[in-house]
Symmetry: C2
Subunit: 195 residues, 2 copies
DNA sequence: TATTTTAACTAATGATATTAGTTAAATCAA
DNA sequence: TTGATTTAACTAATATCATTAGTTAAAATA
């Protein structure tokens, strides 16, 4: 009958297609039906590559976290102190802007406690710890500061994405002001590096 | 045949049931099928009360925003300055903890630009503006500060809900430290009220 | 009391994820 | 090179949804 070409899909290709789908139509449109259609195969064939929709969601989450981490790590090269935090923050927010669906998937793993998901996320936490080390925070203060930075970055990105900021007011400017205020507050105005 | 008792449901009852469902099983389990089962009616009957699943999501979002606003406004009574911001912040986070599903619904309206949704959200923005007025920010600074506070509160709540904070470190303490740092940063350490 | 509105219903449709079992292409070992 | 195995596609079938259309009886109203 019809030829069954055995396309030979690999997981990366599938995840990229899922990412495009997420960014273009939103995460809720990343269905096995839509994904299969875009790939030119039938929905059940996808089960050869991952364990159903939850499996896809998990893999897409890790895929997205890794991508986000790359962008942050890139931005952190060759900078330090406030400059580094600002660069990494802008990279974070820009990633969420360019890849709203993938960013959303990042926080949508079926089980956030999953070891693989945790491991991917840990790299981002570690990076945050490192760029905040310039502020010489003592003991637990550094950990609280990491939580604060992540809260700001995720909250800002999420609210921007959902149209939460209605005022006619430059968004990038807001981010810089918010980050600077937070850093000034935790450092008592004494970062350890030259700015 | 079987009696058709005409229960006489009103929208509030339905939204409360939907809220319980959201908090107990997660927002993705707030289906017309589940909701109808909990209410003792058949799914199509729900269409007499709202316009399908998108209609329910919109009404649940507004319902949640109103509830959240009430809690924040309550917390703001009789306090000012840093104390007010902290009280409102804790109310916000506690609401998200107690009602994770309703909180999630708050940001899940099908159309965030919808007038009714905007109107509900505006009350929260206004409240934020008022409690930050103690810091005497000039011009646009106040608006940037509101964005910062909202980013922190939403980011913190969302990340806590999704298991984003793994460290063995007191969460309430983190929130207080983060808010205080942010306020110190935007105020240059000069809130206008007695603390 | 008669009419209208309301809130439930049944029946049917289409989209979805998922499972089971099948088949042929690709890979690999002898 | 050939035979066996693995892999990646498939068809068919099922269950769960949301949704629409059309119906009916209870409740409200005139």
């Amino acid at each position: 009958m019809s030829p069954r070409p055995k396309i030979g899909l690999d997981l990366t290709t599938i995840l990229e297609a899922a990412g495009v789908l997420a960014d273009q139509l939103g995460i809720q449109e990343v269905t096995l039906a839509n994904l299969a259609k875009n790939l030119g195969i039938r929905p059940p064939s996808l089960y050869n590559h991952f364990d159903g929709l939850p499996g896809l969601r998990k893999k897409l989450a890790i895929y997205g976290i890794d991508k986000l981490y790359s962008r942050m790590a890139d931005a952190a090269i060759g900078v330090s102190g406030t400059e580094a935090v600002l660069a990494v923050s802008q990279a974070y927010v820009n990633f969420a802007r360019e890849h709203p669906g993938i960013y959303e998937a990042t926080l949508l793993a079926p089980d956030p406690e999953d070891v693989d998901v945790q491991q991917a996320g840990a790299k981002i936490v570690d990076l945050s710890v490192r760029i905040l080390q310039a502020y010489r925070l003592e003991g637990e203060s550094a950990l609280h500061a990491v939580r604060g930075l992540r809260s700001i970055l995720h909250g800002f990105s999420s609210l921007e994405q959902r149209g939460g900021f209605k005022m006619a007011l430059d968004l990038d400017e807001s981010l810089v002001i918010i980050i600077k205020a937070f850093l000034a507050g935790i450092a008592g105005d004494s970062p350890t590096t030259t700015d």
